[in-house]
């Protein structure tokens, strides 16, 4: 089952009120998901979920993550249906060992890599043909101890640069590094079972470049495209490789 971004543009979910195209980076389409509480949207969104996802939804203990799940998961389904030209009921997901969703159409692996992220009132869904894709979004929150948190997940160089920054610059650098690293571990499919302090964000991107190339130290043959796609409302990053790796 093949899909393409042009398919999405011609049959995109224009009628759906909680999604809008955010950007296109090379062959990756990124769609914004509005997560502001809205009963009408949530009712419409629920319609898209299959039985397994509804069970998953009911396991959430709090309203906010429940809303995030129903709106972003249904958005991902609608985008995949447009992208793969399939019906919702043909679509299902398997997950890798760390919970990353992998789309199937009629039970067959789809030629699409998809990933979603959410924070605060914002979600993003990234989709591309094949390869591996990771996306992360964080709405910046003032924190008293970003350097302390950084000690858990940043390399020595990254920690030193964070320590030298001050004020808004410190907070912005923290969330830039965070989203770049989380996009990478999501793309690879490991989640935090690969400690983000085991790899370093390219220097240019640490210093503000919006685009870079990256290789994990333990997977030197695979090159990843890295993009910082943050806006005035949130920090966000995208990692994509055309190749498939085993985490």
């Amino acid at each position: 089952m093949n899909g393409s971004i042009s398919d999405f543009h011609t049959t995109g979910p224009h009628e759906v009120t909680w999604m809008s195209q955010f950007c296109q980076i090379r062959d990756v389409l990124v769609v914004h998901v509005d997560l502001i509480a809205n009963g009408n949207c949530e009712d419409k969104a629920l319609f898209w979920l299959d039985q397994k996802e509804r069970k998953r939804l009911n396991r959430y203990r709090f309203d906010r993550p429940r809303r995030e799940f129903v709106l972003s998961r249904s958005a991902m389904r609608q985008i995949l249906c447009c992208f793969l030209k399939c019906r919702n009921e043909q679509l299902s997901f398997e997950t890798n060992a760390h919970g990353k969703p992998i789309p199937l159409v009629d039970g067959v692996l789809a030629n699409a890599s998809v990933n979603l992220t959410h924070s605060g009132n914002h979600g993003l869904v990234g989709i591309a043909s094949g390869g591996q894709l990771g996306i992360d979004l964080e709405v910046p929150v003032e924190r008293p101890n970003v350097e302390g948190i950084g000690q858990m997940v940043f390399t020595d160089n990254e920690q030193s640069e964070l320590a030298r920054a001050s004020g808004n610059e410190k907070l912005n650098l923290f969330y830039r590094l965070w989203t770049l690293k989380e996009a990478l571990i999501k793309a690879l499919g490991t989640g935090f079972s690969l400690n983000p302090n085991q790899f370093e964000i390219p220097q240019g991107m640490r210093q503000g470049a919006s685009r870079g190339k990256f290789r994990f130290p333990h997977l030197p043959d695979i090159q990843w495209e890295l993009d910082f796609i943050g806006s005035s409302d949130f920090a966000a990053s995208l990692a994509h490789s055309r190749e498939i790796t085993q985490p």
């Binding site: 959430y60 203990r61 964080e138 929150v141 924190r143 101890n145 948190i149 965070w178």
Partner: protein
């Protein structure tokens, strides 16, 4: 001296806004905890208990109860 469970529950309440003790046995994924908050919580746990649990080690704890058992 508070129990390990009380101390972890106290940190979960103050840092993750999780006050319900039954949530200690829920899958962490069902709590909707943001990743930055999760690492900030882990940092605080290490500070409280004098441990050095890393992010990748913590990824293996599927519930807060598993973390409590590790610390006990």
């Amino acid at each position: 001296m508070s129990s390990v469970e009380d101390r972890v529950a106290g940190l979960a309440n103050s840092l993750l806004n999780i006050s319900d003790r039954s949530a200690l046995d829920s899958d962490v994924g069902d709590l909707g905890v943001n990743s930055v908050d999760a690492i900030a919580f882990l940092k605080a746990v290490n500070g409280e208990f004098g441990t050095n649990i890393s992010a990748d080690q913590a990824a293996g704890f599927k519930t807060l109860r598993a973390l409590i058992n590790h610390l006990s």
